[in-house]
Structures are given as C-alpha cells and as structure tokens.
Amino acid sequence: MLQIDRWKRILIFGICLLGLFYALPNAFYARVEAHNDAVARIEATGVETPELVAARDGWPSWMPSNLVNLGLDLRGGAHLLGEVQVTQVYKTRVDALWPELRTALAAERDTVGAIRRVEAPEGVLSVEIGNADQMPRAIEIARGFSDPVTTLTGAGQQSLAIATQGSTLTIQLSDAEKAVTDDRTIQQSLEIVRRRVDEVGTREPTIMRQGEDRILIQVPGIGSATELKELIGTTAQLTFNPVLGTTGDAEAQPGLGQFIAPSIDQEGVYYILEDSPVVTGEDLVDAMPGSDENGQPSVNFRFNPTGARAFGSYTSQNIGQPFAIVLDDEVISAPVIRSAITTGSGQISGSMNFDQANQLSVLLRAGALPAEMTFLEERTVGPELGQDSVDAGKVAAGVGFVAVVMLMILSYGRFGVFAAVALTFNMVLLFAVLSLIGATLTLPGIAGIVLTIGMAVDANVLVFERIREELRTARGPARAIELGYEKAMSAIVDANITTLIVAAILFVLGSGPVKGFAVTLTIGIVTSVFTALFVTRLITIMWFERARPKQIEV
C-alpha cells in the first residue's frame, strides 16, 4: 500500500521549509544586498555611521542573507579577459643576471680572458670569453648563480640552463625554472590586479586565473571596460624608507619630510618614516620565498643595478637600523639591517612561517605588473540594460509559470494542483540552492529557469499518465498510484540523467553566460526530480489517506 515512513515525511517537509528559508532573501533583494554591503563595510572600516546601521538593520541578522549572485549581464559592469605575457619575465631575469655575472667573471679576468655580452634572442644571455679553453671555469662561475628549483616535480633541477658553443657561453632559464616563473608571474599579476580593483571598492569583483596564462576580471557596477583597464594599468607604489621611530598614535604630527604609515599586520602600530625612499619598487626585480641560514622561512629579493647601488650604500651606512618596506602607504615589514647588502639581493627573515613568507613575497612583488597584459576579450553591460533583462525575465517566468500551472490543472485536475505545488517548491529550492552555493545568475540562466518551469512537470506528467493507464486496468486507486510511480521511475531516471550529462558538459566546457545556464539547468533537473518524486507523492498520499476515495480521476 501507499506508505511513507514518518521520518521521511519530516525530511521532505524539512527540505522544503529549509528551501523556503534560504530562498526568502531573494524576495527582498535590494534590502538584503544593502544589509550585506553594510555589514562588510562596518567590518572593514570599523566605523558605524547611522546610514550603515540602518541598512544593516534592514534585514534581521539571524535570517540567511545569501543571495543569488547576479551576473554582469544582469547587473551591469565590465568583463575583461587578459593574457599575461609571461615570457617577458625571462628577459628581465637574465638581464638582471648580467651585471652580477660580469663582476664575477671580471674578477677572474686572468683566467678566462676578456668578456663581452653578445647579441642573443630575448631571454637568453650570451657571453663571449677571451680564452675559449678556460670555458669550464666560466661555466663553473656561471653555475654559481644557479639555484636548485624548488618544486615538487622539478626536484634536482637547476634554475639556469647553461650551454657553450666555442667561446660563447649561453645562459637562459631552465624549463623547470620557466614553469615556476610563469606560475609566479601569474600569481603576482593576480595579486596586483586584485589590489588595484579592491581599491575602488566596488561590490565583489571576480578575479581569477583562467588556463595557463590568463586572468579573468569581472567588476560589477563599473562604467566601462576601458575604465577598468586604466585602473589595472596603474602601478602600485612600493618603497623602501628609513624608519625614524614608531608610535601608537595615528594622529601624531610627523616632522618635516616625514610621514606616518600604519603597520599592515600589527594593529595600532604606526611607523614614522622618512619621506624620500631609499629604493622604490621599480628597482625590485624579484622576490621569492626561501629560507635563511638557520632554515627559517625568509623572503629573498633582488634589485636591478641602480637599486642595488642605492641599497648597498644605504645599508652599509645604517647597520643596526630598521628600514621599512612600504606598499601603498602601509608598512609590510620593517626589518633591521644586519649587514651591508651590496649585491642587490637581500633577505627578510624573522618570525614568519612559510605561508607568511610566500604571502609577503607576493605582496612585495605586487608593486607593478610583472609583465605586460594584453586583453583578449572585453565586455561592458550598462546597468539599465541589465535591469531591463531582469524585469523581462521576471515577467516571462511569471507568465510561463501561470500558463504551465493552468494547463496542468486543466489536464489533471486535483493532481494538477499537486504538481503546481511541487513546481512552486521546485522554484523555491532552485533559488535556495543557487543562493547557498553563491552561483551567478546570468541572462541565459534566467532562460534556464524558464525552461526548467516547462520541463519540470515532465516527471509529474510521466507519473500521472502512468496512473491513468493503470486505472484503466481497474486495479483500485491506491494500487494504480503506487504502480504509476513505480513504473514511471526508470523513464524519469534515464531521461533526467541524459539531460544531466548535457548540462555537465555545458558546465565544464562553457564559459561565462553559458556556464550560468548550465548551473541553473543542472540544479533545476535535480530539484525537479526531487519535487516530482517526493513532494508530489507525499502530497498525493496525504490527500489519499485523508479522503480515502473509492475512485480517483487523474
């Protein structure tokens, strides 16, 4: 007979109610959004203005505040796909190597003879030495500049690939080092872009790596992609300044030629710094995590020749004094100079773990974009156009919903009403899931929802038609309903799994709006199977238990 365990009934109802609870914020979209923004703002700044408090209290904090994320095509904003020219960095690296190598080789002029850099492709350093027979010694010297590459796969590999041809020594980055460098370049670019975009404080930008060397940037609410490009193009200000003292008072009056900068990680600590920097970020060639002589995490950095000279003379005159690494007017670190750093490369060590060292090196590098970024794709959608699309989508979904419900009720009577209730819960659950996973709703996504409305009743139709057939063989209503569900099952499963396969492929291969469509379609399939098989069935059975009809009509 028709039976569903009590715990299953509670579970089904529970899921529906939970869905309602989590879908609800979307019905008060503007208010919840204002609440979320206010909470984030108060958290970030610590300042509570009356407007912010009012916005925050516009939505009770005990209610869920997850919203369906509106895509750029619905909200308006700019989308950029940038490609980072990673190979540019190879050139910078080998060019920076040359002064050091020249010094080292020049020190052994008696052995290797006169040296001179000869023309070579970009990213390759070619050096001609006077005494070709002393090449092994030259290689040995060059090897001194090579470090083991620290990656999981590249273990045992060196950072430089050194080759010789006659009297010419050619040096370039090894493949393992190139891979590591590429990765670092992208990470660095992402970090810089993120800092740049965060600065304008628009709502939740999406900045993510795509593929090998691409960065996807989506910023809602920005006027145009051109504006966004200009923003990203600006260089972060990284400087190394002498430290004059520290203070706990942010309002302290610094002396002439001095300024106050807060510490990035120590709350309430402010540094009094000299206005004119010793070295700026433009002179920084590289920064990467490493370890110091005691095996403690550290950050190694290197300057270009100009920076190296300036840094060398400053550090030799100020041993024992601290200097500050300042990024966008915040002090990242203020290490004490232990010895003169004349080689242009230095080390920051202290109390940090490997993650912090990595983080700091990323921040250090976040001065300027490490390599040029070319833009492969850009899209701008005006906010009005987005709003128009949302409105049109709402109307279409509403009309479609009503039409489907009417047809269902006309065709299946009471059972059609059950299906309509299930369809409503289907929409509720769809929105709840979209909100919970923070999925982005795009314009094709709306189309996906409307399509779901039409297709969602399919499972119900299959069951109802089956019940009709079973009723014809006159087995009694309860048996007919039971058989109807049982026999329709395999068709429902097969039909939906095949659609799910398509949706999954769309999700994996699609990008942007297509992905958004795949998301709503996938969730729509899952929720519609759930509501058709469980919710409608439960309602039907509950009605059946109460009414005990001798005869039913579907």
Partner: protein
C-alpha cells in the same frame, strides 16, 4: 465526470510507420537541405566565434541605418554591420541598434581606440546617444571558443550514446545519435537560412535541444524496452507503434508545457536572448518530431535482439532457447 482537458485521446492507435518512407524522405530532405544551406549561406557567426566588436546603441531619435553607415564609413574599419533592433518591450523614444565591427587586422588584442572612435563618430549623429553594451572578442579567443563549442557538442553526443548503450542496447544508441544529429543539423540549417546570429549562447541552445530531444527519445525507448519484455511474440514494429501510442499523451503534454514557458520567454524575455530562445523553441518541435519519427525507425531497421532473458522474470529464464547468445535472424 470532472472536466479534463485532453490534448490527446486516452487511447490512440496511430500507425507511426505508415508514413515511414515519407517521414524518412522529409527528414532526409531537410538534412540535405541544411547541409546545402550551410555551405551556400554559411552561419552568421557572432563576435564570439569571429572576433570583433559589437556596440549596442540607444538613442531617442529613430535609427537611420544609412546615416550610421555614413558616419562609420570613413573610419576604415573593414566589415561593419548595422542592424536596428525592435522589441515590444521598448519605450516609445527608445531606438536601439546593434553595430558590429569585424576584428581589426593585425591586432591580437582588443583596442579601446577603435571603440572610442566609433562611439565618437556615432555621437556625431545624436550627441545624446548611449552605449548600453560593448563587447569585444580578440581573434585568439574566438578561435578557441569555436574549438570548445565543437568539442562540447561532440562530447555530449558521445556521452549520451554511451549512456544509452549501457542502459539499453547498441541499436538504441545508434537510433538516438542519429536523431540528435538530425536535430542539431536541421537547427543549424535554420540558423544559416535565416542568418540568425550564431554565437556561444546558440551552442548552449543546441546542447539544450540535444538534452530535450534525448529526454523525449529515452521515454519512448523506456516504454519500448518494457513492452518488448511484455509482448515477446509480437512483431517489433507493432510493439514500437504501441509504445509510441502509449507515451504519446506524455510526449505532447511535456512539449506543450515546455513550449508555453518558452513562448512566454520568446515574447516577453527581451531582445537580448531572443535568438537563444528561438533556437530552443524550434528545437522542441524538431526534438519531439525526431523522437517519434527518427530515433525508433533506426532501431527498427537495425533490429533488436529479443531472446534475452528478463533477469526479474524466472519464467523467461526457463524458456530461454538452448542456443544462448545466438542472434535472432
């Protein structure tokens, strides 16, 4: 007796194979015609696949396509297409057009200068003109998008046929794949014939059609599988007719509800996604047709092995022929 709207009578006994040759002819004709049209007209690729820029303009003054063209002709932009956009949802003083500029030679990336000069030139016609959306795709990305789009369609066809093959028999998988191919090809033919813009969202629409059509086909197949066990001695053709008739009511009902929702979207959803919705709407028709007339015809021609035991039915097991594994001739 309560009122019931019945799109299809309770019991039907259409002979779906009666017009077999005719429907086959119609399908074959449209498929061939689609290939011809695709070759002759080509698809009207949007910037996703071709690279280039589209700018949407909005002005209070009526769109004068010739004036727009004149304004842009001096800029040496190569191929420029200007279309006026109509939508019942627009306000009276809302005149919208779509300006499409092909990818500029020799530039790998998107140039903001081009967009700026175009916008400036158009503002010469109406200083109040706004540009609610601007999209540019570089040729490098568009090439990759074409590739992924083709992969996506092929991958879904393969994945579906593998699933059907596992759940049914290989004949069903062949039938399904032929009907899907039929649907996709004819839809593309329609796009080529009417020169409707074909872009990434169209691919999504095509895959949705694939999903819908297979959904429909599977329901028929499922019933067929069930009936093949039930009526072991009846001719395959008869069982097929019975299966389609039995599921006809459901097929029609689901197609109609889906169409209701889609037509609402087509009329009220705005012009931005109209092409996309049109493709799906068209696909519902063709998908429904193909699940009734194409998929199972192939299965009939290929024949289905009927001597397999039903694992749930002990009687069938006993009656199994001693020549296990022999093909039915």
């Amino acid at each position: 007796m309560a009122f019931r709207l019945k799109l299809i009578p309770d019991q039907t006994s259409f002979d779906f194979f009666r017009w077999q040759k005719l429907t086959f002819g119609i399908s074959a004709f449209f498929m061939v015609a689609s290939v011809v049209v695709l070759f002759l007209n080509g698809l009207n690729f949007g910037i996703d696949f071709r690279g280039g820029t589209t700018i949407r303009t909005e002005s209070a003054q009526p769109v004068d396509v010739a004036a727009y063209r004149d304004a842009l002709s001096g800029l040496d932009l190569g191929d420029v297409a200007i279309t006026e956009v109509f939508d019942p949802g627009f306000a009276a003083d809302q005149n919208v057009s779509q300006v499409r500029i092909s990818a500029q030679d020799g530039t790998e990336a998107v140039t903001p200068q081009t967009i700026a000069t175009v916008e400036e030139a158009l503002r010469g016609i109406d200083p109040e003109m706004t540009f609610p959306s601007v999209e540019s795709v570089g040729p490098k990305v568009s090439g990759e998008l074409v590739q992924t789009a083709i992969y996506a369609v092929l991958a879904s066809l393969v994945a579906i046929s593998i699933y059907i093959w596992l759940r049914f028999e290989w004949q069903f998988a062949v039938g399904a794949i032929v009907s899907l191919f039929h649907d996709v090809l004819i839809t593309m033919g329609i796009f080529a014939l009417f020169q409707i813009r074909f872009d990434l969202t169209t691919i999504a629409a095509l895959l949705t059609i694939v999903g819908y059509s297979i959904n429909d086909t599977v329901v028929v197949f499922d019933r067929l599988r069930e009936n093949l066990v039930k009526y072991k001695t009846r001719a395959l053709r008869e069982v097929m007719n019975l299966s389609v008739n039995e599921t006809l009511s459901r097929t029609t009902m689901t197609s109609v509800t889906t169409l209701l929702a889609l037509i609402a979207l087509l009329v009220l959803g705005g012009d931005v996604i109209r092409g996309f919705v049109f493709a799906i709407t068209f696909g519902i028709f063709i998908g429904t047709y193909s699940s009734v007339y194409v998929a199972k015809n192939f299965v009939l021609w290929l024949g289905v092995r009927r001597d397999k035991p039903d694992p749930k039915d002990p009687k069938a097991r006993k009656n199994l022929s001693p020549f296990e594994g022999a093909e039915e001739v």
